[in-house]
């Protein structure tokens, strides 16, 4: 990062830069930003404690939600495999 960008990042901490980054944090964590913007957001999250903590909250929330998914029952998947195989074999009664 060039020094001018770095100075700008610190000067604007808690100000307009944080507001702008705050709008992008969730899309960043979902992998929806283009690489250039993602790099810029990552650098800000490393440098700004408040925005970094916001991102940590969302990461924690996403992990907690993903953990509730549980396992898909193997017997259900096996029955669905059988149906797909019957269809592939041309058994339209399946």
């Amino acid at each position: 990062m060039n020094p001018r960008d770095m100075i700008g990042m610190f000067r604007r901490r808690g100000g307009s830069r944080c507001i702008e980054i705050g709008r992008q944090i969730q899309t960043y964590l979902d992998g929806g930003l283009d690489p250039t913007t993602a790099t810029r957001v990552a650098a800000h999250l490393d440098a700004c404690r408040r925005c970094g903590l916001n991102a940590a909250d969302y990461r924690h929330l996403k992990t907690a939600l993903a953990d509730t998914a549980g396992a898909v029952p193997a017997d259900a998947i096996e029955r669905l495999h059988h149906l797909a195989a019957d269809l592939a074999a041309g058994d339209h009664r399946a």
């Binding site: 899309t27 907690a64 509730t68 549980g70 029952p73 259900a76 998947i77 149906l83 041309g90």
Partner: protein, 189 residues
Amino acid sequence: MPDEHQPTREHRRVTVAPGSFDAFVAPHLPVLWRVARSLCRNTHDAEDLVQDTLVRAYKGLDRFDGAHPRAWLLTIMRNAHINQHRRQRPGLLWDQAEADEADRRNPAAPSAEDVAAAQAPAPWVADALARLSPRHIDVVRLVDIDGLTYDEAAAVLGIPAGTVMSRLHRARRRMRAHLTRHPDWSAQQ
């Protein structure tokens, strides 16, 4: 975020032979089952919905353009789910708001199998989820629990991907605002 529903110019049409249908759908069965569970709210109806989806997909295989098979299968699942609702309540047009209201009035009680299939969420997660509107719960379930992309969730719900994103972000902001006041939140971090 790129629109996953639009095949790129470089995309080459890939046809799926009916005889290889099982190999084609096999990698997608777990996510189809999860999404069906989110739509049906119980595992028995979820399996019926996936079966219906597979039969429809097999019959419509010649219309598959080769791009984004998971999104294609999820769109078929959405249509199958709408048809199931029409059969159960003939004369009613499918309306998400009406369905949401029905769910609110008469939430489906989870069976023992449902409880076993789902990991019990931490109480603070369950509490924060329960405070969301049904529309917000839908997007949180599909993206954060079932693992769909914004575009795939949009295909399932029949709404633009931008709407999925705005509902999801609003839902997470509300959950976070609630959770950061919860005594167990900081202890879990």
